[in-house]
């Protein structure tokens, strides 16, 4: 067999790949589990952070709520100090 023929036959053989019969199904299962997990874990803290981080309006709402709570606490403390 000539070198050229061997070289091309080798390249041809390298490009042939046997893929496990269940490869696609395994990947799709993994994806479905991932999507299912996303829906189920909506109320887990890390998932909530992920969701809030993805939407600027939600981020603004969380910051505003935090600021309001902080101001409320300050007002409450001032009220206690001055009027009790």
């Amino acid at each position: 067999m000539k070198s050229e023929e061997i070289y091309h036959a080798w390249k041809e053989q390298k490009s042939r790949v046997e893929v496990g019969a269940d490869f696609c199904d395994s990947v799709m299962d993994q994806i479905y589990r991932y999507e299912g997990g996303k829906k189920m874990s909506l109320f887990k803290s890390y998932r909530l952070i992920e969701v809030v981080s993805a939407y600027p309006v939600a981020k603004a709402a969380v910051i505003a709520a935090g600021a309001l709570i902080g101001l409320g606490r300050v007002a409450f403390m001032v009220h206690i100090l001055l009027f009790t």
Binding site: I6, Y7, K11, S15, V17, F23, E35
Partner: protein, 180 residues
């Protein structure tokens, strides 16, 4: 291309099952590329699974204006393969495959043996040359695509491929001399 763009749009709209089309189209070239880079038949499907899962998760960030889907996919496959290699420290000299120049000239080499020797020669090529060669000659990607995947200039890629071809052909010429 247009079909792929349409499929990607459907996936992003929530039709998860459409991802199977991309999987079936690219499973073989991706696995072949991973196998050639890592030289690991055992774990190449695991790495490929990770590649496709990552592709699915990052699909929203794919920009068709910047590259073809296949270029983007092969870039992820390349990076995952290199990470897998780093983890296994395959690059350490002690674990590199043995060179094939320890042959007895009187050996009669069968085609299978010649292929194995060529596989060995491919694995001892510098990794950049090997990757460029595999993408061009085995996966039949265009030089432009390879340049994008490797983040290198077109001329550099051509030169890497030419050097790899030259080394392999010269190794083959030596081996062929031994074959009867």
């Amino acid at each position: 291309m247009a079909l792929e763009t349409e499929v990607i749009r459907r996936i992003l709209e929530g039709d998860i099952e459409s991802f199977r089309f991309l999987l079936e189209r690219y499973e073989k070239p991706v696995i072949s590329m991973i196998r050639s880079i890592t030289d690991d038949r055992e774990s190449c499907e695991d790495i490929a699974q990770d590649v496709f899962f990552t592709v699915y998760k990052k699909l929203a960030s794919f920009d068709p204006a910047r590259s073809d889907f296949s270029t983007w996919l092969f870039t992820i496959a390349r990076n995952k393969s290199l990470n897998a290699l780093k983890k296994k420290r395959v690059f350490s000299a002690s674990e590199l495959p043995e060179r094939t120049d320890q042959t007895n000239p009187s050996d009669c080499l069968t085609q299978k043996e010649l292929f194995e020797r060529l596989d060995g020669e491919l694995q001892v090529l510098p990794s950049r040359q090997r990757r460029a060669f595999v993408m061009a000659e085995i996966e039949k990607l265009s030089y432009e695509q390879i340049a994008q995947i490797e983040g290198a200039r077109l001329g550099t890629i051509k030169s890497r491929i030419n050097r790899a071809k030259k080394k392999l052909r010269s190794a083959l010429a030596e081996l062929d001399g031994e074959a009867v």
